[in-house]
Symmetry: C2
Subunit: 248 residues, 2 copies
Amino acid sequence: MMPQQNTSQDLNLSLVKSACSNCNLRELCLPFGLSEAEMGRLDELVSSRRRLKKGDNLYRAGTRFDAIFAIRSGFFKTDVLLEDGREQVTGFQMSGELLGLDGISTEFHTCNAVALEDSEICAIPFTRLENLSREIKTLQHHFHKVMSREIVRDHGVMMLLGTMRAEERLAAFLLNLSQRFTARGYSHADFFLRMTREEIGSYLGLKLETVSRAFSRFQEDGHIAVQQKHVRILNVAGLKALMNNQRR
Amino acid sequence: MMPQQNTSQDLNLSLVKSACSNCNLRELCLPFGLSEAEMGRLDELVSSRRRLKKGDNLYRAGTRFDAIFAIRSGFFKTDVLLEDGREQVTGFQMSGELLGLDGISTEFHTCNAVALEDSEICAIPFTRLENLSREIKTLQHHFHKVMSREIVRDHGVMMLLGTMRAEERLAAFLLNLSQRFTARGYSHADFFLRMTREEIGSYLGLKLETVSRAFSRFQEDGHIAVQQKHVRILNVAGLKALMNNQRR
DNA sequence: GAATCAGGTTGACCTGGATCAAGCATAACG
DNA sequence: CGTTATGCTTGATCCAGGTCAACCTGATTC
């Protein structure tokens, strides 16, 4: 199965009725845990929808922040650029996940969010979200959890970048993707990467050649089958084992 | 001037009246932006205080989360451990900063917080903080900003770990410390490190020997003067310049 | 004030991943 | 359908930072 191969047909269909209350991502996304009535109130707030083509920026570093975004379909990367042009990909986001939380702190976005395939997002005006979450305890708490989860996730990436070797990093990356696809009802073992080797490398603190070699190595060792962006995981345990190898 | 060389005398004094409303960190900490009356309500919440000796754990990964902590005085590190014993220091925290935000997501702490010198913290029961921030808009918004700032900070660390060379990392680290000391009214150019070379290394994704060599190099180049934990910054511009060196 | 110990420095050597370079695969396009 | 562009793979070489080891420094203890 090919996850999230959305055609424009799918997108049109999804627009027919477009509210949290009948979105199939509601258990993954912001409405998690809300009652029918409460979800209805969130619907009012999430009126604004937007489609992005592959390569489009959802927002850029330095632009005004006024809403967070929930990914309805598609795939994004966020990155930070240094003046000298160096790029650090800070994350890859998929459906049901939130984008833009970095902007709350200064009222300006501090990173760029780019669609890696045609995507659709729900814009959630932040002030209105704060207002509503002062009324709905469950919403408030869930939002706090989502922000906290982001912090925990970032700590994981730091661990990866700070202490792991190249192959461990890639193994961790693949297992993480796999697990997130599973949560969305897609195959855990057969998927298409939306990002290039260079983007993976940037995220993992490696050069694209190193990423490519690690893929080849995993294939030789029978852990995966790769052909370009198509990845099949053949041996989850093998990949997991790789992650405790440290200094050989 | 030696920042935060608290003696037990200082600590006793500070306990005489111990509330946000007359804490000199209130502009850096959670109460930021609150009115007198609102701050009074926060006072009720922040009743619990705790002292920690150097080396004490404020909390450990896996323990139940029920409060966040504001540092009244002292210095902490947070770290994450891998099963095989590898450690990643995820941050260093000083007075006025919050600890424990990682625990909101799962109701369990996901990292360890360790005092690097004798310290004092204010415990803020999280449920009560959520209750109060449903009533006080300013508090709610400021809390969101603090969480978001943490995310932005983490992105900075990823950039550092993912794309910078050893000397750039240390320069960035020193400049960041310097700037945070300044914000607390201490010298920006003369301070004592609370952490070991090994802890700096863990934070920066380097080995302690590399950290030590970078310090020596900076000294040779006249950017700083170091003697063990005592650091004096002699040339801020020089350090800043180092950060755009990339692949020489 | 000698002994112990944790932390810091420095040197010599080694290696994982970066760099440079060439060729291949696939998609996009006139 | 051939051309062009973009992304991927693989090989050869290099070097920043890791590893190992010896020594130094300053704080703590008896």
